[in-house]
Symmetry: C2
Subunit: 167 residues, 2 copies
DNA sequence: TCATTATAGTTAGCTAGCTAACTAAGTCAA
DNA sequence: TTGACTTAGTTAGCTAGCTAACTATAATGA
């Protein structure tokens, strides 16, 4: 997402701001730091998942299924919730089916649709990964009290409001 | 980075917290929101760059070169600063060279190394993209005053401290 | 009722990352 | 001074995303 390691120093930003007067130095450095920390967080979480033989895409599919009352959903719905295309979801489900974590069942009422079912093995996988995952997130956020967490959420909501203006 | 669109509601998190007592609900939701906003931000910036025929990887190479006094560097140094492998940098430089934005020049003192030079066309490209890019970031962050920006940076620094505990 | 349109899922081929293995060139120590 | 190691860059082959095009089925409306 933001691979860049060598974030601009205030010095470098100031130089660029001379050449490009539109630059808002604190805005740029805030955005870059946000992307930097989020990327590192994401990489660290991926590393955690990969210890359990998973990757983010497949992982979220399992969680989305776990949220359902009957542990069942459809590829197109999963794709939308997971934020990937249906084509990508087909690939993710292929992998999960091969590992036995989900099962494809053909629906009777609409023969176009496939029902995706979280298998017992899938539940077991989640039960082994989730505690580890949650424990790591708890540790990572230990340094922030509830007040700071709330501040963060407010600030992120503000940035989120600004994103449409960016497009 | 975080494709997931359907972030867990407090309700869903509470249910998961019953099954997995290690869950720290506010920590999880803060982390997910952080990843969500950062991902949307990153996608929006990518869209801005692609309007100018660029992608993040190549873009950062141009900026890294622009930071240098003589607009020159080496693939391995660029790779390290950009946070990609040397193999990936080879590919990025191939593309930039084809577009005429950089030039490869062989060094005399160490015949293993190649010097990468930002061409005039490269400078022109930056001069056309940077103002647009900076203007967008300014607009996106308009809703945050300096105090909030500083708060954000402090909070991000705290999270950053927690990342090693996550691995 | 049957032609059109919409929907569900898949396939094929593209991309930018990655790792691992390679060549070529420089360094260093026995 | 030569054999082992290190460094710079590239190549080949992998991955998980993507888009576009496809098949099959369902819904709709003239």
């Amino acid at each position: 997402m933001l691979q860049l390691k060598d974030l601009p120093t205030p010095d470098v930003l100031a130089k660029f701001a001379i050449r490009y007067p539109d630059a808002d130095v604190t805005a740029v450095s805030s955005v870059l730091q946000l992307l930097r920390v989020a990327t590192d967080l994401s990489i660290a979480l991926d590393a955690c998942l990969s210890k359990h033989g998973l990757l983010q895409g497949r992982w979220w599919v399992l969680i989305l299924l776990m949220r359902e009352e009957n542990k069942t959903s459809q590829p197109s719905i999963l794709a939308e919730k997971a934020g990937v295309t249906r084509a990508t979801m087909t690939g993710l489900l292929d992998g999960l089916e091969q590992s036995g974590l989900i099962a494809r069942v053909f629906a009777k009422e609409d023969r176009r649709t496939v029902l995706i079912n979280l298998t017992d093995a899938g539940v077991e996988k989640l039960d082994s990964v989730m505690p580890d995952y949650y424990r790591r997130i708890r540790r990572c956020m230990q340094g922030l009290d509830e007040e700071k967490r709330q501040q963060l959420q407010q600030i992120l909501a503000l940035i989120n409001l600004g994103i449409p203006a960016l497009i």
